[in-house]
Symmetry: C2
Subunit: 332 residues, 2 copies
Amino acid sequence: MAKNMQVLLAKRPNGWVKETDFEIVESDIAVPGPGEVLIENHWLSLDPYMRGRMSASKSYAASVEIGDVMVGGTVGKVIASQHPKFKEGDHVVGSTGWQLYALSAGDGLNKIDPDAVPLSTYLGVCGMPGATAWIGLLEYCSPKAGETVLVSAATGAVGGVVGQLAKLQGCRAVGIAGGAKKCDHAKTQLGFDACVDYKAGNLHDDLKAACPDGVDCYFENVGGEVMDSALSVLNPFSRVALCGLISGYNATEPYGQKMIRSLLVNRVSLRGFIVFDRPDLYAKAIIELVRWVSQGKIRYHETVAEGLNDAPRAFIGMLKGENLGKQLVKLT
Amino acid sequence: MAKNMQVLLAKRPNGWVKETDFEIVESDIAVPGPGEVLIENHWLSLDPYMRGRMSASKSYAASVEIGDVMVGGTVGKVIASQHPKFKEGDHVVGSTGWQLYALSAGDGLNKIDPDAVPLSTYLGVCGMPGATAWIGLLEYCSPKAGETVLVSAATGAVGGVVGQLAKLQGCRAVGIAGGAKKCDHAKTQLGFDACVDYKAGNLHDDLKAACPDGVDCYFENVGGEVMDSALSVLNPFSRVALCGLISGYNATEPYGQKMIRSLLVNRVSLRGFIVFDRPDLYAKAIIELVRWVSQGKIRYHETVAEGLNDAPRAFIGMLKGENLGKQLVKLT
């Protein structure tokens, strides 16, 4: 008989996450009770926010407890249901964690159309990362045609969508990414007008060259030195969507941002945000993204790890920027 | 015959401003040509923004050139006019610089009512600093009754008004100031509910104690360690009005802000702003402030230097926080 496999949080990381911070266990597959569904997960999403959930310190959501299944977005198929809204064979997206089989009471579980776009995209470009890009850029940055939009982690699951949405708005899209390969991908595959390699050692001057008219909208995923350089090229009355600070997630001491003065001098509007605060926009964003992806107007790239056993390694790699596009784990 | 006296920028300061960065000169009093007025200045305002104008580096307004009269707000009386809108004897507020007599073509010059409130207040609580407080708090922080408003430099010309406006909105008003005397003034004279002395060496814990329900609106005048401590007590969905960063104005190396993560985790809206960007609100703010001051609903305190010769010393003292309330120079 099949067994469930789960990845548990074994230790709270101190600094960089290690594979030994996780424990992989086998268990029996649960049987759904009244109001529950049993899901066979096909895809697991790996996202930077998970690093925050591994820590005990305050974040915008509760920490994962030691010994609990790691949180994570999943796409799967309902294989047994005692829930009125879901039936066997339904494909669903939800946050059911790092495991092969999951029980759910239906909270946060949504049916998806497997024929509209590939199933895996509901975890990326047509899922939470895509909606994050949509809400952060369109709602908090309000880009106008002709403006320059800058995004860090430009080839990540969020950044790649930000750049393409900027192009659809008639903006100049400039990315920041680590390495020539990623920058080439941003320009040739995702349609960025320019992409600056922060690892090339000349970030500030390269940014100025890539943004000859300055930056009107900055979508921040990274923080640290990248953020300081970006703040230094902001235009008056520019808008900053603060989505993530991945460069600091494994740091034991916080980086000191030196360019705060630019926020004052340029009268910048900066907004920290979390996609789940805007359920009013989430569904609209997903509908638009599914349409644009199915029409080929938005492209995407996936980096796929094979099997749940490989999830810890792939997660650590993503935190180090080893992935290109959306980092997924294929479970079946 | 009377002579004009002017304070010129002699040198660009490197780090802390020195009195020798200024030069005081005598000259003849100009005669107004067609479309011009001659003003006898009675009061000169000293404000933190002037430090930025002394530097060559980019700010939101052009630098003062070496040898030019220092910029500054003034209140005075028209003593000769060839301008259709102003006549001899009119009292006016404007930005005519550190000098006893000034020619003006009328740009930015406004008539004021010497009977409504004391003349000097048009440079403070009923002038640019008051309007700065009004716009920053009411427009960019949108405080709601019952919320906690925190303001740094709480006994400065801007901060003192912020706290009193917060009280008028039904908020808890908490200040940060340097020294027991200023904190006492904030509580007993300005009506703050609490004031934390950042010089007492226990800023973070004292702030937490003074803000038991956290901070919903933060009005920032200071930056540096004060800002880091304030960011660490922000509530989810709080608003920050970034008005000034005086702690860094004389620094040769920028301070590194360590609590940027709080802006993300708490989904903060931060807005850098300059009062002069909002002419749509400025006049409304002044009208309300004049009314509240004349009704005794808003109180103010002034620190007055005697005579233009003393302006450089008083300016340096203000940058070091030696003043209480609005720093003025009485010219006549």
